[in-house]
């Protein structure tokens, strides 16, 4: 068991998600930064799909009731066990009775805390991920709260204390973000000049950012191609007959502020989407802080698949790298 002494700002139990129910409006959920979640699990000897904690902007405070291995990945933050400071992306040993806590955030937005054995709350539709909107998964569908006592699983492999990821394998944090976008879906709805400004302009991450979606502001308002509204779509030029949304798809209500749907995406709705962020760049989004300058970069399907392959290879390297130290 572990006991939550402070829950931070918003900390929830996540794993790699709950595929298979998007057709009923229940999204994938799971870690927004899947790479970080996988690596945290690997560093404590867990299989990559076990559940850990995702904390945004602020870390929780956790008291351990038994010895365990812990790893913190994702955002850069100072990690403390009792009063001593420890690095991120590293296998740490916590003894029964000790308290894991966090200092201020240095970069990124979300940290992932994996504990040997994984957090063993009951599965809901095949996953332990918390889907807050639908009150599903996690602890009774809720974010974790002060006083919660969370059970740990038993099965985990052996990883040596101090196992760490070399810098070349860690994501590079930068002051500015670039998100690669494959134009498509309802791309034809915006005018050719807007198709250009969308990619040329500098956008900034807005304040309305959560697990459902990230909003951006500051670029030129998009203009639409004239049309006779199709029956059922609604009169606003950014409306369509309600349809499915893709993960990573970018909707721009009224042409003003782009919203990228993330792991807790609404499964559909009546706004046009102009394309989607490629799967290789989805993890980056979960680490963006408000006001981060962001550029969207146009890519084609081949580039998207190449980038995806590079992510697969990177993860494979990480697995080997951790195994070699064990």
């Amino acid at each position: 068991m572990i006991e939550i002494i402070k829950h931070g700002l918003l900390t929830s139990i996540q794993d790699l998600g709950r595929p298979g129910y998007f057709h009923l409006g229940i999204p994938l959920s799971g870690a927004m930064d899947r790479f970080a979640m996988r690596v945290a699990n690997l560093l404590v000897g867990n299989s990559e799909d076990l559940a850990g904690l995702e904390a945004v902007f602020m870390g929780p405070q956790i008291k351990f009731e038994k010895d365990a291995l812990v790893a913190v990945t994702g955002a850069e933050i100072s990690v403390k066990i009792d009063d001593e400071e420890y690095p991120t992306w590293t296998t740490l040993k916590v003894k029964s009775g000790q308290v894991l806590s966090f200092g201020p955030l240095k970069s990124g937005a979300r940290m992932y805390i994996a504990i040997s054995g994984g957090i063993d709350v009951p599965m809901a539709l095949g996953s332990r991920s918390t889907y807050l909107v639908g009150a599903l998964g996690g602890v009774n569908g809720k974010a974790i709260a002060k006083g919660d006592r969370l059970p740990l699983g038993k099965n985990h492999g052996k990883v040596k204390e101090g196992t760490t990821l070399s810098d070349t394998l860690k994501p590079i944090s930068s002051k500015q973000a670039e998100l690669r976008v494959l134009p498509g879906l309802y791309w034809h709805r915006i005018s050719p000049p807007s198709q250009k400004t969308f990619f040329d302009d500098e956008w900034k991450v807005a304040l309305e950012i959560d697990r459902m979606g990230y909003r951006f502001k500051g670029g030129t308002k998009l203009e639409f191609v004239d049309r006779e509204p199709p029956f059922g779509a609604g009169s606003d030029p950014s409306n369509i007959v309600d349809s499915c949304y893709s993960y990573g798809s970018i909707q721009v209500p009224g042409g003003v502020e782009p919203i990228i749907l993330h792991r807790d995406a609404v499964s559909g709705g009546g706004y046009f989407t102009l394309g989607a962020v490629i799967s290789a760049d989805m993890d980056i989004i979960g680490q963006l802080q408000p006001n981060t300058p962001t550029f969207f970069k146009k890519v084609d399907m081949n580039e998207a698949l190449q980038a995806r392959l590079e992510r697969v290879n990177l993860l494979e390297k990480v697995r080997t790298h951790i195994n070699e130290q064990g």
Partner: protein, 294 residues
């Protein structure tokens, strides 16, 4: 109806059956998604039918996007004939129109509405040329509605009114979305009705509330014990106006796990429906009455 294919990033294939909404477009989406499911194409991870379109989620490590596109286009060409008859169920939904909870909520968001001095029902009645709210409620509850999509959030149904197009209720969404909507609110946006499965933000007009739960992650409500989501695309819904005392009665029955929804299995045939919509609807609705009497 030209089918349009496009990719949503490297993991989704989006297929628009028609730009505009019609039952014809929905049936095309439904029969194509069923054919795709049957074909068992490796690499497809999710099949999501929607009102007049559908989306496939796939793993590009297993199937190349263009190979998937070709496979689906072959299925579309092979199955030229759209399935026009489905076995489905009709469900009666008790609705307390003009209820105190959605009324309280809509009054809080008047500054985001087209008619700040009226209610959502006043506005919908006026722009759909009904002389009174009562007349509008009658039109809303008289004909059945077709569930043409389940989604947005957990288990929320989009419903398409089963009347001729010139009689279809159409209301724009709020000017700016609300930050609050009571759970189980009966909403309306564009040509679609919906039932909000959870409390939360929303932009649809609010007409009333149903006491019958449609999503229960704890699966303790009797009619949601087998699965937490009630609706599936293809369901037919008939609203029945109720008063406050019946609303309270049903809420109590649900709490005591004694409530049983009125549901009847029916065959729906699009051609017969098109031939004489009113007569066909009457037959469908009659099935409910038989069920209630049993």
């Amino acid at each position: 109806m030209e089918t349009r294919y496009t990719f949503g990033g490297d993991e989704h294939l989006f297929v628009e059956c028609s730009e505009e909404m019609s039952l014809e477009a929905f049936f095309k989406s439904l029969s194509l998604t069923e054919a795709i499911k049957k074909a068992g194409i490796k690499g497809i991870t999710e099949i999501c039918p929607a009102n007049a379109s559908f989306q496939l989620r796939f793993d590009p490590d297993i199937i190349k996007p263009n190979d998937l596109l070709q496979s689906v286009q072959i299925i579309e060409k092979a199955g030229k004939k759209i399935k026009r008859s489905i076995k489905t169920r009709i469900i009666e939904f008790p609705v307390l129109y003009n209820d105190p909870w959605t009324h309280e909520t809509l009054m809080r968001f008047r500054d985001r509405h087209q008619m700040p001095d009226g209610t959502d029902l006043d506005y919908a009645a006026e722009i759909n040329n009904h002389e009174s709210v009562e007349g509008f409620i009658k039109a809303h509850s008289e004909s059945p509605w077709f569930v043409t999509m389940v989604g947005f959030v957990a288990g929320l149904p989009f419903m398409y009114q089963m009347v001729d197009r010139d009689r279809q209720i159409q209301v724009p969404k709020y000017l700016r979305p609300r930050t609050d909507t009571p759970k189980l609110t009966l909403g309306h946006g564009g040509c679609f009705a919906c039932i909000y499965s959870v409390k939360g933000a929303g932009g649809y007009q609010m007409f009333g509330i149903t006491p019958m739960p449609i999503y229960d992650p704890t699966q303790s409500v009797e009619h949601l014990k087998d699965f937490m989501v009630f609706f599936r695309p293809g369901d037919i819904v008939k609203f029945r106006p109720i008063d406050m005392s019946e609303y309270e009665e049903i809420v109590q029955e649900i709490e005591m796990n004694q409530y049983r929804p009125v549901i009847k299995e029916v065959q729906f045939d699009l051609d017969q429906y098109n031939e004489n919509t009113k007569k066909y609807n009457n037959e469908l609705v009659k099935a409910l009455k038989d069920d209630r009497d049993n």
